[in-house]
C-alpha cells in the first residue's frame, strides 16, 4: 500500500520529546488543528488538487463552505446517532480518553490524585479527557507550564495513505505513565485498532478487559492484550547504545524490580556538555550566593582534572587506595559493553565495602567527531559507570565523580577514552 505519509504534527523542542523515542509530543492545541486539517482535508484536498476548472469549482467551494458553516453553527442534522460529530476525531478522542481513564483508575487513586493539564490547550480531546478524568474523581489542575507529577502530554500523528482512510498514532503521557496505540480510520469513519495498547511506566498488571470498548472496533484479537514495553526504539539489538529513556520508572511485569529511576539521561548529559561548551558559568551560580550554602558548593558541577586537581582531595584525606580499575570505552562511544559490565559487577559485589569511597574520573581526550564534544563524552562515560554501580546497589553518595576532557592527549595521566575507578578505604 502506498502512503503519502503526510504527518501533520508539529514538533516540540528536544526537552519535551516523548519517551517512546520516535517523534516528539505536540501541544494539544496543535493536535486539534491537526485533526481538523487532517480529516477535513481527506476529501477537500483531493477535490482541490484536481486541475483547475474555475467555473465548476467556485460553486463547489461555496457549497463546501456552506456545509462547514452549518457544522460550525451547531447543526444537529449532520450528527450521527451516538451524538459524536461526523469527524471521526471525536470518536477517537472518546476512545483514547476512555482508555486512559480506565488505566489511570487502576494505577492511581483518583481521590488523592491531581492531574495537570496545560491551560492553553482547549481542543476537543483535552476537554474530553479533562471531563472524563473529572468524572472518575481525579483532581484537574490547569497549569501554565509543565507543572506537576501527573502532567499530561498528548501527540496525535496522522498518516493519510493514498488508498484512503487514515492511520493515526496516539501517544499520551501522564507523569511517568506512557501509552501508545495505533488506529486506522476507514473511509466511512469507523475507528479500528491497528495494534495493541502499549504502555510504559507502570509496575502492575492492568486489566485489559476493561479497555478497547466500542465504538472502537478490534481488528485482530491480539489487539486486546496490553503490551508492556521497554522502548525498543532506543534499545536496538545487542548492547544498548544508551539507556532506555524511560527505564527509570518501568520494568516489564514479572521482571525483578530494579532501581526505579536513574539520575542522568543521555539528554541531560548532552545538555550538561552543551552547557559547558557554551560557557554557562555554573561556578558563578554557585559562588555568588549571599548566604553560602556550604563549603562543598564551591566546586563546579563536574571538575575537569585536565586543568587542575581533584575537588575531592579533602574527602579522600586519610584514606588509602585499595584498588584501581580503568574501564576503556570504544572510540566516541558511551557504550559500556558486556566485559565492562562484568568488571563493574565484580567491583560492586566483591571489592567495594560499605564505608568505601569511590573516586571516578570519566575521560575523553584527543579528537572527537561527536557534537557533544569531549566534555559530553567524559561526563557521559562517568555517568554510565555511575548508573551501573548504582544498579548494583552502590549508594550514589559513595561515589565522587569528576571528569577529564581536553582536545589533546593527557599523556599517561589519564586514559584517552575511559573511566578510572579508584576505591578508597580507611586504613585498618
Amino acid at each position: 500500500m502506498q502512503s503519502s505519509h503526510r504527518s501533520y504534527s508539529r514538533r516540540f523542542p528536544d526537552r519535551r520529546r516523548p519517551l517512546f523515542g520516535y517523534g516528539r509530543p505536540v501541544f494539544m492545541q496543535e493536535v486539534r488543528l491537526t485533526m481538523s486539517s487532517g480529516f477535513t482535508r481527506t476529501g477537500g484536498v483531493n477535490a482541490s488538487s484536481r486541475p483547475a476548472r474555475k467555473n465548476r469549482i467556485q460553486p463547489c467551494a461555496l457549497t463546501l463552505g456552506a456545509a462547514l458553516l452549518s457544522l460550525s453553527s451547531g447543526c444537529t442534522m449532520l450528527k450521527d446517532t451516538s451524538g459524536d460529530a461526523l469527524a471521526p476525531g471525536a470518536t477517537l478522542d472518546r476512545i483514547v480518553s476512555d482508555d486512559i481513564a480506565v488505566i489511570l483508575e487502576q494505577i492511581l487513586e483518583p481521590r488523592s490524585t491531581t492531574v495537570q493539564i496545560n491551560r492553553d490547550r482547549a481542543d476537543s480531546f483535552t476537554e474530553k479527557l479533562a471531563a472524563r478524568l473529572t468524572d472518575q474523581g481525579f483532581g484537574i489542575q490547569r497549569v501554565a507550564a509543565d507543572q506537576g507529577a501527573h502532567y499530561v502530554e498528548h501527540q496525535r500523528d496522522i498518516v493519510l495513505p493514498t488508498s484512503g482512510g487514515a492511520r493515526v498514532t496516539e501517544r499520551l503521557t501522564i507523569g511517568t505513565i506512557e501509552t501508545q496505540r495505533e488506529f486506522t480510520i476507514t473511509r466511512n469513519g469507523t475507528v479500528r485498532s491497528a495494534g495493541p495498547l502499549r504502555i510504559a511506566g507502570v509496575r502492575i498488571s492492568l486489566d485489559a478487559d476493561m479497555l478497547s470498548k466500542p465504538p472502537l472496533q478490534i481488528a485482530d484479537p491480539t489487539h486486546r492484550v496490553i503490551e508492556y514495553v521497554n522502548d525498543p526504539a532506543v534499545e536496538p539489538a545487542g548492547e544498548p547504545v544508551r539507556e532506555p529513556s524511560f527505564a527509570p520508572s518501568f520494568k516489564p511485569v514479572g521482571e525483578p524490580a530494579g532501581p526505579l529511576e536513574r539520575i542522568v539521561t543521555p539528554a541531560v548529559v548532552e545538555r550538561v556538555a552543551f552547557d559547558n561548551r557554551e560557557g554557562i558559568d555554573l561556578q558563578s551560580l554557585i559562588g555568588s550566593q549571599g548566604i553560602p550554602l556550604s563549603e562543598a558548593d564551591a566546586t563546579t558541577e563536574v571538575n575537569n582534572l585536565f586543568y587542575g586537581t581533584s575537588a575531592f582531595e579533602s574527602e579522600l584525606d586519610g584514606l588509602e587506595r585499595v584498588e584501581r580499575q580503568i574501564i576503556v570505552f570504544p572510540n566516541d562511544s558511551m557504550q559500556l559493553g558486556k566485559a565492562n559490565k562484568r568488571l563493574v559487577a565484580r567491583l560492586a559485589r566483591g571489592s567495594i565495602q560499605q564505608d568505601d569511597r569511590i573516586s571516578l574520573v570519566g575521560c575523553s581526550t584527543g579528537y572527537t567527531s561527536l557534537s557533544i564534544g569531549n566534555e559530553g563524552l567524559a561526563i557521559g562515560r562517568a555517568q554510565r559507570v555511575i548508573e551501573e554501580l548504582t544498579d548494583h546497589d552502590i549508594p550514589r553518595q559513595q561515589i565522587f565523580d569528576e571528569g577529564c576532557w581536553a582536545p589533546v592527549s593527557a599523556g599517561e595521566d589519564f586514559p584517552g577514552r575511559g573511566v578510572v575507578i579508584d576505591i578508597w578505604r580507611h586504613p585498618a
Binding site: L69, E127, V272, G290
Partner: protein, 355 residues
C-alpha cells in the same frame, strides 16, 4: 439574467439554506462567557443571564478573595487540591474560574467531600452605613470574608478582609488596587486583614483613596489571571525571605543543576522533571531542599525568581513538605556574565540532611 447576477443569487440561496440548516436564525444567540466561565463544569446559562456589569463586579470580588487565598501557606495552589461542587450561581462560576486561574487542582464532588472542600456565599444586608454585600470563601476550615459596597456601577471593599482557620498572617497583599481602576475618584475604602475573633493580624490597615490617575478603561484594567499570578509571586517572594536555616547543621546530600531552555521559560521538560523526581525520592522528612536561580544580570532577578518558584513548586508537587523547600535569595553580582534570553539557564537544587 446575466452570469454575475445568477451567481450572486446562487450564493445568497446557499448562505440562506446553510443558516437555516444550522439553526442560527432560529435560536437566540448566547453570549460568549468562555473568558470567565470555569474551564470545566461551568453553568453558562447562569452566566449568560447575568449582566456584563454584574459579572465584572463579581469577578473583582472573586479575584480579591482568591488572591488572598493563594497567599495562605496551607492553601497555596502548589500544595492543595480543592473539592468543588458544580457552581449554581454567577458568583460561584466566577469563584471556580478564579481558582482555576490561580492554578488550583480542582476535584468535582457532589456533596461536601474532601479536606479542602470549597464553599462560598454572597449575602445582602442593610446596615447603618447603607446596603452592603458580604462575600465569603471557605476552603476546608479556612475562611475569608469581606464586605463590599456598590457605588454606581462599581463595587468597593467596605471592610477589612476577615481570616479564620489559620494563624495570623501579616503580609497578605490583597491587591486592592484592582478596585481603584474602576474610577470614582475620591472614593475611599479600608484595606487590610483581621482575624475573625477580632485579633489583629499584624498587617497594616490603610485607607485607600481612588486618585485621579487610578481609573483605567475596561480594556486596560488588570486581568484577573495576572492579579492572581502576582499574588502567587508575592507569596513566593515572601517565602524566599524566610531565610535558610543554618546550613552548618546540615550535610549536603546531593545537588542537581536543572537546565531550562531559556531565561524566561517555566517549562522544565521531561528530563528535568525526572531529575526532580529522583531527588525527591531521596528527601526525608527532616531534610531541606534549597532552590537557587540566579541568572539575571539586572539585579532584579525576576526571571530567575520565577524559575526558582517553578522548581520549588515542582519539588513540592512530588510530595516534599512545602516547609522543607526554600528558595535561596540571589545576591546581585556584577561579575556574573550577562545571559541572553535564549540561552540555556541553570537552576540549582541542593538537598541537605540534618545532622
Amino acid at each position: 439574467m446575466s452570469g454575475p447576477h445568477r451567481r450572486r443569487r446562487h450564493l445568497s440561496l446557499i448562505l440562506l439554506l446553510s443558516c437555516v440548516a444550522g439553526g442560527c436564525a432560529l435560536e437566540p444567540v448566547e453570549r460568549d462567557v468562555s473568558s470567565f466561565a470555569p474551564l470545566l463544569g461551568a453553568d453558562t446559562r447562569e452566566l449568560s443571564n447575568t449582566s456584563p456589569e454584574e459579572i465584572r463586579r463579581l469577578r473583582l470580588v472573586a479575584t480579591n478573595l482568591v488572591a488572598a487565598l493563594v497567599q495562605i501557606p496551607e492553601a497555596r495552589p502548589a500544595v492543595a487540591t480543592l473539592q468543588v461542587r458544580r457552581p449554581a450561581s454567577a458568583f460561584g462560576n466566577l469563584v471556580v474560574r478564579a481558582l482555576e486561574d490561580a492554578g488550583y487542582g480542582l476535584q468535582r464532588v457532589d456533596a461536601d467531600q474532601g479536606r479542602n472542600n470549597v464553599t462560598y456565599s454572597q449575602r445582602f444586608a442593610r446596615t447603618e452605613s447603607g446596603p452592603v454585600e458580604d462575600f465569603t470563601l471557605s476552603v476546608g476550615r479556612i475562611a475569608l470574608s469581606r464586605e463590599y459596597t456598590r457605588q454606581g456601577d462599581n463595587i468597593y471593599p467596605a471592610s477589612l478582609m476577615t481570616l479564620a482557620g489559620i494563624d495570623p498572617i501579616d503580609n497578605i497583599d490583597l491587591h486592592d488596587a484592582i478596585f481603584n481602576e474602576q474610577g470614582d475618584i475620591g472614593t475611599a475604602y479600608i484595606s487590610g486583614t483581621r482575624m475573625r475573633d477580632g485579633a489583629a493580624t499584624g498587617a497594616d490597615v490603610q485607607t485607600i483613596d481612588v486618585r485621579p490617575d487610578d481609573p483605567r478603561p475596561i480594556e486596560k484594567r488588570s486581568a484577573s489571571e495576572h492579579v492572581l499570578a502576582s499574588a502567587r509571586r508575592h507569596y513566593s517572594e515572601r517565602a524566599s525571605m524566610r531565610g535558610i536555616p543554618d546550613l552548618h547543621r546540615y550535610t549536603r546530600q546531593g545537588r542537581l543543576v536543572l537546565l531550562l531552555d531559556n531565561a524566561s521559560t517555566l517549562y522544565l521538560g521531561r528530563e528535568n522533571k525526572q531529575l526532580v523526581r529522583e531527588l525527591v525520592n531521596r528527601v526525608g522528612k527532616a531534610d531541606l531542599v534549597v532552590v537557587k536561580a540566579c541568572h539575571d544580570a539586572n539585579g532584579r532577578n525576576e526571571g530567575a525568581n520565577a524559575q526558582a518558584v517553578r522548581v520549588e513548586e515542582e519539588v513540592v508537587a512530588y510530595g516534599v513538605a512545602a516547609d522543607s523547600v526554600r528558595i535561596a535569595p540571589c545576591a546581585g553580582a556584577s561579575y556574573r556574565h550577562v545571559m541572553s534570553d535564549d540561552r540555556v539557564t541553570p537552576v540549582e537544587v541542593v538537598h541537605f540532611r540534618r545532622g
